[in-house]
């Protein structure tokens, strides 16, 4: 008998050895493809931080902090006599760990007044809250998970798991013969299938095998379970089980493991789970769909309470705490994410395109990268909610068909080009066509600042007060019809100061100006500002017959908003790999691409757009003291409504129109401008305080003629900035008829600078040299098949 057994055991042993090798390779390598996790920026708390109580509380809500009476565990906060007490979570950033802290925060007048250590009472200079996870990038098999180490798993979860799934886990050797016998008897006698699988077997089944239920697979499962148990530590196997197990579905995304399930169902890290939540998750294992707490809350509650009863019965928890836990609601948070885009698909889209350049898809979905982005959840969320409201209001007000208006917007920082928010359409949570990145539309008058900026680089001809001729203009092109653009109001306005011509967005004056300086030069300026395409230098370009995406427009206006320093727009700051190792930085890069003096003058003129031009709406909608600068844009037949503008903290571009390119019925100021104001209002920006470059000097001029103020004529004149050395030197005539003479289309005559007084910067270089930096080299060399599109490639490469 023994010999027979032995003979049978030899091939079996060989087979087991093969299985053992298989297990070893899988189990000792990297066990799972660990998806990349994408985070928002983290909120910085310090005395003076522009964080209102409302903003701080929202941030805590996004992060899943619970409001309690006594914040003594991580992830909780309380209000106490105007102070916000907070127990922050520890978090490892690319540049070090932020420890758990007990904070006492005071907020006054929309700013943080002080941040103190609640335990020591000492002031803290600077604290970072953990960032909000805004999405993950998981592989094509749709398995998403957050890996837990054995130490990460709360004791209570381990005990509950074992009690419910496999009570003899610590005693058996991978399989539980008694359990199997029980199951077999039940199946044979009662004709009812009953699971006799141990945790180890379940892990083997899910991890190594296909989900068939026949005897052959069952035996293999048993053998592998024995091997696994013999080779590895019980704790390690339990952790693997806790990471492997399937617990729910989110669209295509499969929620695997307790680490992710905790975030998915309760919005908190696993360490913060309470017993009723643990019981719910353990109960889910049996049938994640049937007991789905969001879809089948009644089933889930019943199942959870059953689990709690068993835990009490087995002495894992007391009867008392089971009774308390059973009274609690499910505690499930509203579902935050849908599919690959997470909660903020439009922003994630930008992140992914930037990542695609530097990483293979499999790195993103398997290497467990942590990606720290520039997104500001507060900015993004308030923008999203205000945009939809305004669109609906506009449709109602203007009698437009419902639901047809679409929108796109980008909010970025002027000084470092970080993208804070992306609006890809009116339905913010919907991962569809991303208009902010992919809708290329005519930009209309948004191009005008480039025309005026070009002109202002010729200070011997143009300053803010140079009168421009706004009379009717007819351009003859050889071989084609003549072109005669008219003003928005179909009127001519005679001679208007350059600044006012921009403020009022006069087309006729702008075309005359642009034709004088040359369309090629304007194209060059557009490239310097950040345009990536090569439009034909046709006169129609001067009125915005050039297509761009909102993102590209944002780049142009970022350069202006930063005083002429172009920063490639960025959505990612850092990428951190496994072991908290910093892998890649996307550093701040700036480059002066247009000269400071002319940009300053342009910005002043763009402030006039708000104070006396097409955007006066902002004077009432937002505090006057913000000194905002911007420009409206409208295209033919009101197809596109644009507004681009900036404060000191934000540069924001909004487009409103229709996907079918039919007229939307809105001008820049009746459409996009309204959306822009709604988006900016809650952000409580600080005022735009333009830095006056050393190449600027002030002069008092006659507001009509732009000539030097002449006290003899009476009045006060106005103080205007000029490039140093180019202030007008002739005093105004008191006879205002002089003004009626049209300014020749060539270099204007009444503003010639004194010879030899040209402006020089501190290095002795002319401040306004014509060959501003041009990025055509990087533009022409790349071909697309990386899905970036011309402009994005321009930024990211």
């Amino acid at each position: 008998m023994l010999i027979l057994l032995f003979i049978a055991a030899v091939p079996l042993g060989t087979y087991m050895m093969q299985l053992s090798d298989e297990i070893t390779t899988s189990f000792e390598g990297k066990r799972w493809a660990v998806p990349a996790r994408v985070y928002s920026r983290s909120m910085e708390l310090y005395s003076g931080a522009p964080v209102s109580m409302e903003r701080l509380v929202s941030e805590l809500k996004y992060l899943g902090y619970r409001k309690v009476s006594q914040p003594d565990s991580t992830g909780t906060w309380a209000m106490n006599g105007g102070r916000l007490l907070l127990r922050s979570r520890p978090f490892t950033f690319w540049d070090g760990a932020e420890p758990e802290r007990a904070l006492d925060i005071r907020v006054a007048a929309g700013k943080i007044k002080s941040v103190m250590n609640h335990e020591t009472g000492k002031e803290i200079d600077l604290v970072r809250l953990e960032p909000l996870e805004i999405g993950s990038i998981y592989p094509r098999d749709n398995e998403d998970r957050v890996i837990l180490t054995p130490d990460d798993i709360p004791e209570m979860l381990k005990k509950s798991l074992i009690t419910i799934e496999d009570r003899s886990y610590y005693d058996h050797f991978g399989i539980d013969p008694r359990g199997i016998t029980r199951a077999a008897v039940s199946t044979l006698v009662k004709g009812r299938r009953q699971g006799g699988s141990t945790i180890t077997q379940q892990l083997v089944k899910n991890y190594f095998l296909t989900p068939r239920r026949d005897l052959k697979r069952k035996s293999k499962e048993a053998l592998m379970a024995i091997i696994l148990d013999a080779k590895y530590d019980k704790e390690d196997i339990l952790a693997a089980y806790a990471n492997e197990i399937y617990l729910g579905q989110d669209g295509n995304r499969e929620i695997h493991g307790f680490g992710l399930a905790s975030e998915f169902f309760f919005g908190v890290p696993i360490a913060e789970l309470e017993i009723h939540q643990i019981a719910l998750m353990v109960g889910l294992i049996k049938a994640p769909s049937t007991y789905n707490p969001r879809r089948n809350p009644k089933n889930a509650l019943k199942r959870r309470n059953l689990v709690l009863d068993v835990l009490a019965e087995q002495g894992v928890i007391s009867e008392g705490s089971a009774a308390v836990a059973k009274k609690k609601s499910l505690g499930v948070v509203k579902k935050k994410s849908t599919g690959q885009g997470g909660r903020f698909p439009a922003f994630m889209d930008l992140v992914k395109r930037q990542l695609r350049r530097d990483y293979q898809p499999e790195d993103l979905t398997s290497e467990g990268l942590h990606i720290f982005t520039t997104m500001d959840p507060w900015v993004q969320k308030t923008a999203e909610s205000n945009v939809l409201k305004r669109l609906q209001q506009l449709e109602k007000q203007k009698g437009l068909p419902k639901g047809k208006l679409e929108v796109a917007a980008i909010i970025a920082t002027p000084q470092d080009g970080e993208v804070l928010a992306v609006i890809g359409g009116r339905k913010a949570g919907y991962a569809g066509f991303n208009r902010a990145l992919d809708a290329t539309r005519q930009i209309g008058s948004l191009v005008k600042p480039a025309v005026y900026l070009t002109a202002l680089q010729y200070p011997d001809s143009y300053s803010l007060s140079t009168p421009l001729d706004d009379s009717k203009v007819v351009l003859h092109n050889r071989g084609s019809k003549s072109w005669s653009p008219s003003n928005y109001d179909h009127k001519s306005h005679g001679n208007v100061p350059l600044e006012l011509a921009l403020a009022k967005s006069y087309n006729q004056a702008t075309v005359r100006l642009g034709m004088d300086i040359g369309v090629e030069r304007v194209v060059k300026t557009l490239h310097a500002l950040g345009m990536s395409s090569e439009p034909d230098p046709l006169p129609s370009l001067l009125l915005g017959a050039v297509n761009m995406t909102p993102l590209e427009v944002t780049q142009l206006y970022q350069t202006i908003a930063s005083g002429g320093y172009r920063s490639p727009l960025r959505a990612i700051r850092e990428v951190m790999g496994p072991g908290d190792k910093a892998l890649k930085r996307y550093p701040l890069i700036i480059k002066r691409t247009v000269p400071a003096g002319p940009v300053y003058l342009l910005s002043r003129a763009m402030q006039s757009v708000v104070t006396r031009g097409t955007s006066r709406y902002l004077l009432n909608a937002l505090p006057k003291s913000l000194n905002l600068a911007g420009k409206t844009g409208t295209t033919d037949n009101l197809r596109d409504s644009w507004f681009a503008g900036f404060s000191s903290d934000y540069v924001t571009v909004v487009w409103v129109g229709r996907d079918d390119n039919k007229p939307a019925g809105l001008s820049g100021s009746s459409g996009a401008l309204r959306v822009w104001a709604d988006m900016m209002k809650p952000l409580k920006s600080s005022p735009l305080d333009l830095v006056v470059p050393g190449t600027i000097e002030m002069a008092r001029v006659d507001p009509k003629s732009g000539m030097l103020f002449n006290p003899v004529c009476g009045g006060n004149g106005v103080e205007k900035p000029f490039l140093r050395g180019y202030t007008p030197y002739e005093e105004a005539y008191c006879d205002s008829d002089y003004l009626m003479a049209p300014v020749p289309a060539q270099r204007s005559s009444n503003q010639v600078a004194r010879p030899g007084r040209g402006s020089r910067d501190s290095d002795g270089h002319p401040d306004f040299n014509g060959d501003s930096w041009d990025n055509s080299r990087s533009r022409s060399s790349k071909k697309s098949n990386d899905g970036l599109g011309g402009f994005l490639r321009g930024i990211f490469e």
Binding site: L5, A9, V10, L12, G13, M16, M17, Q18, D21, E22, T25, S26, G29, K30, R31, W32, A33, E44, Y46, S47, A49, W94, D95, D125, L126, E143, F173, Y207, F208, I226, I227, D358, Y359, E362, D363, T365, E367, P414, Q415, D416, E418, P568, E574, G577, P578, L583, R585, Y586, P587, L588, I589, I590, K591, R592, V691, P693, N775, I795, F796, E797
Partner: protein, 202 residues
């Protein structure tokens, strides 16, 4: 029954100490479906220097290295050198003496620095002294996000970039610092020295 199991396990233990050349028959676990890149948990292939930094020699022309100042200007030195910043003044630019002078910048005209930015400035300085230039730049960028118009922060960023051999960026940051510097002449002079140094090393 139990005896059989024990026997099997025994055999398995005996045999598994010897032979190793058997091959798995079951399809590999999910992690392998992406091919040989994975396994072992090594991420060295993912590591990319920041902008072709002092590390760039090690990586050759990895994809990450191309990012880049070259986005804006291809004249970035490909094999940057550690510019001895000590050449620039009597001491190193970030050494105690000069730093103190700027820290008390209220009297010299520029806006005073808040505690938060100042704590980051100090952190960046110790990172720079420890040779972690990339880390110092990252810390300074964080400070710039808090006080985006503080000339001293831009000056320090220029300094770090200069030391890394990114002359073009150093020039830009130094120029920007001077534009925000108001009447702080000593800071402007320091920026001018950085620009001179950067220009001569190009």
């Amino acid at each position: 029954m139990k005896l059989l199991f024990v026997l099997m396990v025994l055999l398995f233990v005996i045999q598994s100490t010897g032979c190793t050349n058997s091959t798995p028959r079951v399809k590999p676990a999910p992690v392998y479906q992406h091919g040989e890149r994975v396994g072992g948990g090594s991420t060295s292939a993912l590591e990319m220097p920041e902008i072709g930094t002092e590390d760039s020699g090690e990586y050759g022309r990895e994809p990450g290295e191309e990012y880049r100042v070259s986005e804006l200007d291809s004249d970035v030195p490909q094999a940057p050198t550690d510019s001895p910043v000590t050449d620039l003044s009597s001491g190193s630019l970030w050494s105690g003496g000069e730093q103190v002078a700027y820290a008390g910048s209220a009297e010299s005209g520029a806006a005073p620095m808040g505690k938060a930015a100042n704590s980051l400035l100090e952190k960046a300085e110790s990172q720079q002294q420890a040779g972690d230039l990339s880390g110092a730049a990252s810390t300074l960028e964080r400070a710039v996000r808090i006080e985006s118009r503080n000339p001293l922060l831009w000056n320090r960023l220029a300094n770090v970039r200069l030391q890394q051999g990114h002359s073009d960026l150093a020039v830009e940051f130094a120029s920007k610092s001077s534009e925000f510097a108001g009447s702080d002449e000593s800071l402007k002079q320091n920026n001018a020295r950085i620009i001179d140094k950067a220009n001569s090393s190009r």
